[in-house]
């Protein structure tokens, strides 16, 4: 049975900010991006670092331009990637996927917004 646990007031987390908390026996980070709130487990799949404490970045990507040269650019304008502070693995906050290898993921949990209240849906305990 999934558990729907009250996590925070929405106003506690400003745009582009995150909080870290303990909920239902797990360490979590809840991030506020332009399209909503996203919860990740604060445990890196690499060597269990506190990934949710990391700095946020825009995803840097690159394409080959028509002239054959490589152009680096931001994938999006928003800083929606969190880098684990321990070794720098970068994770997309919305999916929890590692940018360098999408099979490696931080555990992600759904967040429900009910008025001012944020609830996180955790697996049964």
């Amino acid at each position: 049975m999934a558990r729907r646990l009250w996590a925070a007031r929405a106003s506690e987390i400003g745009p582009g900010e995150r909080i870290r908390l303990e909920l239902g026996g797990l360490e979590l980070g809840i991030f506020r991006l332009s399209d909503g709130f996203f919860a990740l487990e604060d445990k890196c799949p690499h060597q269990q670092g506190p990934v949710c404490s990391g700095n946020l970045f825009r995803e840097i990507t690159a394409t080959v331009a028509e002239d054959g040269r490589v152009r680096e650019r931001y994938a999006r304008d928003e800083a929606d990637v969190v880098a684990c502070p321990m070794h720098g693995w970068e994770f997309e906050i919305r999916t929890g996927e590692c940018l360098a290898n999408r099979r490696r993921k931080v555990q992600r949990f759904p967040v429900e917004v009910d008025g001012e209240d944020l609830y996180v849906i955790l697996p049964g305990g």
Binding site: Q47, G54, N55, A83, H87, G88
Partner: protein, 370 residues
């Protein structure tokens, strides 16, 4: 302390020697050179201008979520930091490896290089190391003046805080050369291992491949320089010339060794005439060496297990964290590998190192952690 009930030895954690403090231990004209140096460092700092060691803010040390500074990424910068790190990782015995001293082979004036080596070890022994707390260091021997380096080893080998001799992959003449005999003799005489710490001496710094990014330089340089020195030491017969000398390779991960082992065997079978000192296959000498595990390659477990088997890991691997560098390894990265036997796990995490390094206080620490 320890991890999962094991005595943990960290064979490679970095100390950031404070240059101005360290300068107080220099003697002769080197003092002036340090005091009058126009920049912050007495040697070229790491490798060129191509990168930010902190991954442009992606890796952070210090307070969680805070912006650390560059120094925090390079090494522990005060003696008080060391026990904190040991406690965090559950380390009982730690070998402090320098930071700027890793560049000492780039100091081309042999006298100056040896002045720096002598000053550095005096600085470490006077207030940074504490063998009774499990904190040791290596005496760094510059290859430019092996005779003077051997004298320095003789001078400080009596200190209980010295657990080995460090040499650098960036020596100009590969380490199999007889020119280094005085250093090997001194190390063997005092029961100190030779520790080869990889550094940026690869295609990036020394040859045709000027890479535009750290990810390229680091991937190749750190293994390449240990490969060069391993080939030289094995094929020129260092283990035959110094049969009691223990040799440790650090900071190149582990996968580079296996391929080279069999490549050397294949070469040797055909060209034995050029390596007549050898009494067995190169791969058999290589299995008498020791290898720091960091940075453990991130790869499918079943393949990693094969590398462990090929290299007789339970008898040859030594856990190393490399803290606080961006590519450090937690003890769990090695100790929790599911394919290790309990005995093998204990050996890799501590017992192998206890047999290789000269830890004067090891029995005390073992009792504490038991």
């Amino acid at each position: 302390m320890g991890y999962r009930g094991m005595h943990v030895v960290d064979a490679d954690a970095h100390y950031l020697e404070e240059i101005r403090d360290f300068a107080k231990y220099l003697k002769g004209p080197s003092v002036e050179r340090f005091a009058d140096w126009s920049g912050q460092y007495h040697m070229p700092a790491l490798v060129g201008e191509q990168y930010d060691v902190m991954l442009h803010g992606r890796t952070v040390r210090g307070a969680a979520g805070g912006k650390g500074d560059q120094d925090e990424m390079l090494g522990m910068s005060s003696p008080a930091d060391i026990p904190v790190v040991m406690k965090r990782f559950g380390i009982d015995t730690i070998v402090m490896i320098p930071t700027y001293m890793l560049m000492v082979e780039f100091v081309r004036n042999a006298n100056h290089a040896m002045d720096i080596c002598n000053g550095y070890i005096d600085y470490m022994l006077d207030g940074v190391c504490a063998p009774e707390e499990g904190i040791y260091t290596l005496v760094v021997a510059a290859g430019r003046d092996p005779v003077r380096a051997a004298k320095m080893i003789d001078r400080v080998a009596g200190s209980p805080a010295v657990c080995g001799v460090e040499m650098l992959g960036s020596v100009e003449l590969p380490l199999g050369a007889e020119a280094y005999n005085p250093i090997y003799e001194a190390a063997q005489h005092h029961g100190l291992p030779i520790v080869l710490h990889a550094n940026f001496l690869g295609p990036d710094l020394s040859s045709f491949a000027k890479f535009p990014s750290f990810v390229e330089s680091h991937a190749l340089d750190m293994t390449w320089c240990n490969q060069v020195q391993l080939v030289s030491m094995v094929m020129e017969g260092v283990p035959e010339r110094f049969p009691d000398l223990k040799i440790v390779f650090q900071e190149s991960g582990i996968t580079w060794v296996a391929g080279l082992m069999y490549r050397l065997d294949t070469e040797y079978m055909r060209r034995r005439v050029e390596a007549p000192l050898l009494r067995k296959l190169p791969s058999e000498y290589i299995k008498d060496f020791y290898f720091g595990t960091q940075p453990m390659e991130d790869m499918p477990r079943k393949h990693l297990k094969m590398f462990f088997e090929m290299l007789d890991a339970e008898n040859t691997f030594i856990y190393a964290s490399d803290w606080p560098h961006f590519d450090y390894d937690e003890p769990s990265a090695v100790a929790d590998l599911p394919f290790l036997s309990d005995a093998g796990r204990r050996k890799i995490m501590g017992e192998n190192a206890l047999g290789v390094f000269r830890f004067t206080e090891k029995t005390v620490n073992l009792e504490v952690s038991a």
